[in-house]
């Protein structure tokens, strides 16, 4: 056993460059390669309009949810209810703005946003309590709440009619959440509000995950929950907190979606939870948790979006895009499984 620390330096470096890191690097490489290929084949790909206005702005809302999902998944959890939670939040946002509009924008919009955030937190907490404190399997809990929340949204909208932001007097005061352009890189290269919201959430998330005790414990729980519990970590509370955080990010995403589509529809975003989970997994956070992080989620998200964007540019239909996306997830996860098998031998 004494040869563990006395290994040659090169060997220890190789150990540090674990396969997981190599895998992440290879996904980044794939992303860069795809971008290079795209800008070579399509003159419109590498333009500010396409990349920032189109690709990133569209990805921002799902990206915010993916941040919450990363927290849940690093701690070994799973959340299928994010799309439904987002829909409930959207509906609540539009309804409260409608109801409160007589009080003026200065009251109605902050109040509505606050309530929406609260709803997101409560729905997340419902998941969290059932999973962390009661101990029901996260897949079962969130599969059920996915249905429950979706039904809730249908009830709130009276059977699924879309609530149009256009119908409410405040619409012009709320549009900034989507429309506002910040001239960060000069007037011709503006950055849209959703991207800013995403970046702020992302930075907060990075801080929480990498620099706080909470983040440290998420990895501990994902690595070995029993050991963390025995060491005195309040695993229940921390696991529940990840679902609360995830619910909150759904509320933030709901605000972006409402501003973007100017509507809240109870039957929208069906299946988006899988896109979110896919980007987290493709990025490199494994099911079961314990490793991964927000940077890898960002890379995973961008990879899926770039492929999507690329296929759109080559006018390939949505049906094929689904096939391609699914296959990429399989390839990435298979490579991961094979790598783990090999490193065990």
């Amino acid at each position: 056993m004494s040869n563990d620390t006395k290994k040659p330096y090169a060997q220890r470096i190789r150990g540090a460059l674990s396969f997981r890191k190599l895998q992440q690097a290879s996904i980044l490489l794939l992303l860069v390669g795809l971008c290079a290929f795209a800008s070579y084949r399509s003159p419109t790909f590498f333009t500010w309009t396409n990349l920032v206005d189109n690709l990133l702005t569209n990805a921002a809302a799902l990206g915010v949810i993916a941040i919450g999902m990363t927290f849940v998944m690093i701690a070994g959890g799973f959340d299928l209810s994010v799309a439904s939670t987002t829909v409930v939040c959207s509906v609540v946002l539009v309804l409260t703005m409608d109801v409160l509009s007589p009080y003026g924008a200065a009251v109605a919009i902050p109040a509505a946003l606050l309530l929406t955030a609260l709803v997101g937190i409560v729905l997340g907490a419902a998941n969290g309590v059932l999973i962390a404190y009661v101990g029901v399997n996260p897949f079962v809990v969130t599969l059920s709440t996915m249905l429950v929340f979706r039904g809730l949204a249908l009830i709130l909208t009276g059977g699924g009619q879309a609530k149009q932001v256009a119908d409410i007097p405040l619409r012009n005061q709320f549009n900034w959440v989507y429309d506002a352009q910040l001239p960060l890189f000069g007037q011709s290269c503006q950055v849209s509000m959703p991207i800013v919201i995403f970046l702020v959430t992302f930075c907060l998330g990075i801080y929480l995950l990498r620099f706080t005790r909470f983040g440290h414990y998420l990895y501990a729980i994902g690595g070995n929950e029993e050991a963390a519990w025995l060491a005195g970590v309040n695993t229940h509370r921390i696991k529940a907190a990840t679902y609360v955080l995830c619910g909150f990010t759904c509320a933030v995403a709901a605000a972006i979606f409402v501003a973007m589509t100017a509507t809240a529809q109870a039957e929208s975003h069906v299946g988006k939870e899988l896109v979110v989970i896919a980007s987290v997994i493709v990025g490199g956070t494994p099911l079961g948790g314990g490793s991964g992080g927000l940077t890898s989620t960002l890379i995973g998200l961008l990879l899926l979006r770039v492929i999507d964007n690329l296929l759109t540019q080559f006018s390939i239909g949505a049906e094929y895009r689904k096939v391609v996306t699914g296959m990429i997830i399989i390839i990435v996860v298979t490579v991961d499984v094979l790598a783990k098998k090999r490193s065990r031998k």
Partner: protein, 530 residues
């Protein structure tokens, strides 16, 4: 709350009065009072007494070994101590206070740590992060994690314990023995008064065992109280001060190690001489039926070649972790490996468990719960599973009458008692479960049967039946491969013995020439060349 009384030094507890955390002794010496005293402990599982009025105590600066056969109750006793049950009766006095331990966390907080065979370290964390888990500091307002203090704290402990560990290395990359050191260090940081080792050497190589013994002796000299669970009697004179023997949930006795011999301990464990449990051997090896050549799985075992004859019992001896189970798994096709296996002179191409079953090779796996039982199904279903195709009627439909008839026949043949085919296999005793799994392969009329730890966790009576069964199978021309940690079983049953050490076949012995002690020496011997 259980700490910091007069005699106790608390080397690393941040809450100690010894605020600068200067390492000092764990305990004052010359303290005659036991750290732990258990009196009249009773624990029942569904009406059967797993522990029956057991007394046990540990003094500071002592290693108290707890031995007994599988199922004797030693793990149950330690699980009581670790807080895994809340329905035991009896008195526990810890640190002079009467306590009732009802949760693992409470046990931990009181100062009891159990190092299980299955280590509970975080593979994704560094050594330092593992050691300091649960005691991280964060800044007041920013909630920023203080990584420097994690490293500093861990370094201090590692230095104090004189462990050979690098705080920055990820634990997942360490050897099993070093992971064990990490867990010990993490436990000792938390003001631990009593450290329990549950079969720590079961998965270690001989060098690592020496190293671990060094660590245990060092801790003992510093005054820590330790419990050492094992069924390897040969280790005890090296490591233990006192020995308590359990049998069938009852205490047989406690002795100072200097007062007793191994053979005496064996008799205490079994209640009689083990040799009596072995029947006369009546089998005669015939012609070669299975031939393995150059079996290799990098890092696990290398270049294993041997022959197996009809009617022969071939023992594979080696420590746990030497690769012996992996070798037979590879033969059975459960794991991939390079090399060839010939069955009746023809190589088996694309080995897999289903192909081996079709050829007539069966395996009774090591881990009954995980690899053997189909839990939640009945005894009959478990018996029939390997020959469903043969029991099927026309068009592949299963005939309930055939199935029931066959199950009844097997139950009779295997002497399973109670003979109730509809019982859930989980509710059977370990011995009966094992009979069901053996019966499964008998039914499949296997020509070669691999037994991996066939007597693990079953009582002596059933063991004796199992020995008779194995010999009987060999007498009727079946070829047997037998793996067991109980080396006496191999010494008594096998015609030929392959000794595996660190994944290599180091010796082949004739069964009649050897005994338990010689085999143990052979399995654990260090390679002088290294």
């Amino acid at each position: 709350m259980y700490s910091n009384d007069s005699v106790i030094g608390t080397p690393f507890c941040n809450k100690s009065q010894n605020g600068n955390g200067t390492p000092n002794a764990f305990f004052a010496f010359g303290n005659p009072n036991p750290v732990l005293q258990m009196q009249g402990i009773v624990k029942e599982f569904a009406g059967t007494r797993a522990l029956d009025e057991v007394d046990f105590d540990v003094r500071p600066g002592e290693v108290h070994a707890l031995i007994g056969e599988n199922g004797a109750g030693k793990s149950t006793l330690m699980n009581v101590l670790a807080g895994r049950f809340d329905d035991y009766t009896g008195l526990i006095t810890f640190d002079g206070r009467q306590v009732r331990i009802t949760s693992p966390r409470q046990a931990r907080n009181m100062g009891i740590a159990v190092i299980y065979q299955e280590l509970s370290v975080l593979p994704n964390f560094t050594v330092a992060e593992n050691i300091m888990l649960g005691d991280e500091k964060a800044q007041r307002w920013t909630r920023k994690l203080d990584r420097a203090s994690i490293n500093a704290g861990a370094r201090k402990i590692i230095e104090y314990l004189r462990f050979d560990l690098d705080p920055d290395e990820p634990v997942g990359q360490l050897s099993k023995a070093r992971q064990c050191l990490v867990e010990i260090a993490g436990a000792l940081r938390r003001n631990i008064r009593l450290l329990v080792f549950d079969e720590p050497t079961a998965s270690l190589g001989s060098e690592d065992i020496d190293k671990l013994f060094g660590v245990i002796k060092d801790l003992r000299d510093r005054g820590l109280a330790m419990v050492y669970i094992s069924h390897r009697l040969a280790e005890l004179p090296i490591i233990a001060d006192r020995v308590t023997v359990l049998r069938d949930g009852r205490m047989v006795g406690t002795k100072a190690i200097t007062d007793c011999r191994i053979s005496e301990l064996t008799r205490m464990m079994l209640g009689h001489d083990l040799a009596e449990a072995f029947p006369q051997k009546t089998n005669r090896p015939g012609k070669v039926i299975l031939k393995a050549e150059g079996l290799t799985r990098p890092g696990v075992f290398e270049n294993i070649s041997f022959e197996l004859r009809e009617g022969e019992i071939l023992g594979i001896a080696g420590l746990v972790g030497s690769g012996r189970s992996e070798i037979v798994r590879a033969i059975f096709g459960a794991d991939d490996a390079r090399g060839t296996v010939e069955f009746r002179g023809r190589p088996i191409v694309g080995r897999s468990p289903s192909l081996c079953r079709a050829l007539g090779i069966g395996m009774v796996p090591e881990n009954r719960k995980r690899e053997g039982n189909i839990t939640g199904r009945t005894m009959a279903e478990n018996l029939n599973i390997s020959i469903l195709d043969r029991l099927a009627g026309r068009l592949g439909f299963q005939s309930p009458r055939n199935l029931a008839a066959h199950a009844t026949r097997m139950i009779k043949q295997m002497k399973i008692d109670p003979p109730r085919p509809q019982m859930d296999i989980q509710d059977l005793s370990g011995g009966n479960q094992q009979k069901v799994i053996v019966g499964r392969w008998l039914a499949a009329e296997s020509k070669v049967i691999i037994f991996d730890e066939p007597t693990q966790g079953i009582d002596v009576g059933t063991k004796s039946q199992m020995y008779r069964l194995i010999i009987d199978l060999a007498r009727r021309g079946r070829a047997i491969i037998l793996i067991s940690s109980e080396l006496i079983e191999i010494a008594k049953l096998a015609d030929r013995i392959l000794v595996i050490r660190d994944g290599r076949l180091v010796r082949e012995m004739q069964g009649r020439q050897t005994d338990e002690d010689a085999l143990f020496a052979e399995c654990g011997r260090k390679d002088k060349s290294e």
